[in-house]
Structure formats: C-alpha cells, structure tokens
Symmetry: C2
DNA sequence: TGTACATCAGTGAACGCGCGTTCACTGATGTAC
DNA sequence: TGTACATCAGTGAACGCGCGTTCACTGATGTAC
C-alpha cells in the first residue's frame, strides 16, 4: 500500500509537498523508466514490457525515453547492468571478506544468491533470462565480472585452507558453486508461477549441496578420518 | 542445405514425387506448426515467435492454427510437453537401466542433459525459459514428472550401493543433480550468444562436479579410506 | 462401382490494437553578462 | 538583481506495421448406401 504510493511518487516525480509534477521537465526520467520497466518485468517477464507501456506508467510521452536510451534493448541492457551491480554488492556483503569465519561466510554467499533471485526477480530475469548476448556492452561485462570475482575470491580463500596437494582449481570450483546456486535458484527459488515445488526450501537444498560438494573436495576430511 | 529443403518439404507438406501441396487440406498441419515454431524459438527465444509468423512459414492462412491450438500459449505448452517427452527419452536412453555399470550410466545421464540443451535449444527454451506455469496442463506435468523420475531412479540405484547408514535421501540427491546439470547447461552450455564462456567444456565441468559431489556423499570412500 | 451427403480443415478478408520510431515543436532551466 | 539567450528534456501527432482473433465461406475427404 504505502510502497505502491511511493512507487507512483517516484514514477511521476511528484513532490510530497506540492503534490504535483515538477513541470515540463521530469527531472529524473531515466531512473523512473528503469523502475517502471522493473515492475513490468517482475510481472510479465523480460519479454513482457514495452517502451510504450513504460512511458504510460511514468506518465510521459512515448517519445520521451529516446532522450535517455537508444532503444528498448539499451534499456534492458542497462537494467541487467544495474542488476549485476546490486548482485555484486549483495554477494560482497554476504562474503564480508570471509569474516568472521570463512566457511560460514561462504555459505552465506550461496544464501545471498537465492535471496537475490527471490527478492529481485526482475533484475534476476534481466540478468539471466533476457537472452542478452554476453558482449552486449562493456559496462554489462564489467558488472558481471565484478560479481563473479567475489564468488571466486570466496573460493580462493577456502581453497587456501586445504593442504597443498589437494587444492582444486579455483576457476573450476567457482563455476561449480555458481552453477549449483544458479540451478537451484532458477528451478526452485524463483518468485513466480514457473517455480517447481520441492519438499524443502531452496535454502536448505543449497546448503546441503554446498556441504556435500565441499566434503567431496576434502573439506570434511577432519571429521571422518 | 539438404536439411533445409527437407524442412520446407515438411512445412509445406509437399510430396517429393508431385512437388506440390497436397491441396486444400494440409494433412499434417499441427505437426508443421510445431516445427515452424521450434525454428523460430531456436532463433529468437520463446518470446520470439508469433502465431502469424508461424502460419507464414508453413504457408497457410492466419486462421488455420485455430483448428489445432486454442491460442499461442497452447502451442507453446504443447511444445514444452513434447520437449519433456523427448528429454525423458534421451535421459532414459543414457541411463540404460544402469547397465552395464551404474556409475558410468549415471554420468551419462548428466552428459545427456547437456547434449539435449545444446542440440535442442528450442525445446529446452520452451521447457525452461518460456515462464509457463508448472500447472499449465496435465500433459505437461506428466511429461515433466516422467523425465524427473528417470533422474530419480538413477539416484536410487546408486544410493543402494552405499552402506545403509550413509544413504542420502533420494529426493535430495535427485534435486542436487538436476540443479547442477541445469545450472551448467543454462549458464555455459546453451547454443546461443547468451552462453558464458569458460576455459573448459560444459561436459568436463559437469563430470568433475558430479564426481566431487559423489565423493562428498561417500562414493569415493574406498579410494581414500 | 457410383452417387449423395456430412464432416471439418483450411480460406481470406476484416477488425481493432499496441507497438517502435520520427519529427518539428515547446517551454523550463541555468548561465553569461 | 535583472535580462537575454542557449540548451536540451519532454511533447504530441503521425506513420506504417504486425499482431491475435473473428467470421461466413469453401472445397477436399471419407463414408453410407
């Protein structure tokens, strides 16, 4: 309710004091277009928003977005880029430089992956389900790399605790962890009607998966032998 | 080249003998519509085909499909259902009842997952990226269940080899394996420009993942203990 | 084997709609003096 | 502090297009007799 009013306020750039549009110039249009597009993507998927509908939601003329985005694809790519930036922030906060304890921080990164997929379905869809070519823009590639780098740093930190002869390649381990978190998020952790039901939470499923995988890498060796 | 001609032959239902349409009645229209839709999905994604474009590809009037499919969504759901049927066949063939050796057969199921995602990108997209609600139709649910049942059967067979106290829940193991195969296929094993490049093949990545995971479950205990 | 008839798959014209994009324009804003 | 002016964000009307869907129809096919 309150959130919905806030959204309209943001879209229309109405000030709470005057209650009216700032005037002929929106003042914050590109931001408002992105927010409106996110709402539509959350409801109808990456293919379910149109430039025209976004302008209607924001309350500007259909030609207005062209001052800010070359076309519909450019808007989508910008949303994906913003998504990876937020994603990297979320993973980074969960990792917390491996403090206070690396293994717990590592698990927390996995949980953050699922939380992001559930709480930001629109960003998640733009990032992974919009079929954007991976080389769409330099900005998008950099944001993607930044997010992956956090996952990789976490893996490298954990690997350093293994005896020297038993260390797996950090790249391989990073990709494995990415794939397991992504697979669980995509299949069982989404926030829409395409989510497949399972007799446990995605969080529990991922935690068990990570533990078994880490055991397989030798992290559990102290416990059984 | 030859394949392309064959495709046109199928679409238009031209006989190679007469070289002409069979006549007023197409004879095999619903099949031809599905094939044309698959081609468009492979090129442009699940959102990238229209009823109208499909009829043009097949060479019938825009009203023709309504004799066979209630609407565009019904066609998409039928394609997803066919996809899961083919998918179940592929997994089943790979599993081969666990013969001649269960572990090898199990790995082969994982490889079949990747092969299907790569060789049948249109089916894969319809099954997993079309945002169809999981309860779209009874037929779709049944086909999905049939595919999962094969994965589960493979897990159960492997689990039976573990000592009684160390057996993981088959459902959990099945979901883990599904998620890892699906994560790798979605991120690194697709056949389009949204594939993320990695310094190994998806097949190698999945094989290593499965081995580490199985080790973590205790399947490698004979080797280190 | 031939004819009459029922069935129903496919026709083609038509509809209203929302789309992306263009264009010359307008008017709010900020700044130089 | 006031005025003239440049900038440029947003306007609104217009365009051609492809879409999904409808409708009364047509004619190929199969079957009853």
């Amino acid at each position: 309710m309150g959130a919905s009013v806030d959204v309209i306020t943001v879209y229309m750039n109405k000030s709470k004091r005057t209650g009216g549009r700032r005037g002929y110039h929106h003042g914050n249009l590109s931001e408002a277009l992105v927010q409106a597009a996110l709402d539509l993507i959350a409801k109808f998927g990456p293919a379910g928003f149109s430039f025209a509908e976004v302008t209607r939601a924001v309350g500007v003329s259909p030609a207005a977005p062209y001052r800010h985005f070359r076309d519909r694809d450019a808007l989508m790519a910008d949303i994906a880029r913003r998504g990876f930036d937020k994603f990297a922030d979320a993973l980074s906060e969960a990792w917390n430089s491996g403090q206070p304890e690396a293994l717990a921080a590592f698990k927390s990164v996995g949980q953050a992956y699922l939380t992001f997929a559930r709480n930001e379905p629109a960003y998640f869809a733009a990032m992974f389900e919009a079929r954007l070519p991976t080389d769409t823009s330099r900005e998008l590639t950099q944001a993607t790399d930044r997010a992956f780098a956090i996952l990789r740093q976490a893996c490298e930190t954990l690997i350093a605790d293994l005896p020297e002869g038993k260390r797996p390649p950090a790249m391989m381990m990073s990709l494995h962890v990415w794939a397991m978190a992504h697979g669980i998020a995509s299949l069982f952790g989404r926030g829409d009607s395409a989510r497949r039901n399972i007799p446990m939470t995605p969080e529990q499923l991922l935690e068990a998966d990570m533990l078994i995988y880490l055991d397989g890498l030798g992290f559990g060796d102290n416990k059984d032998g």
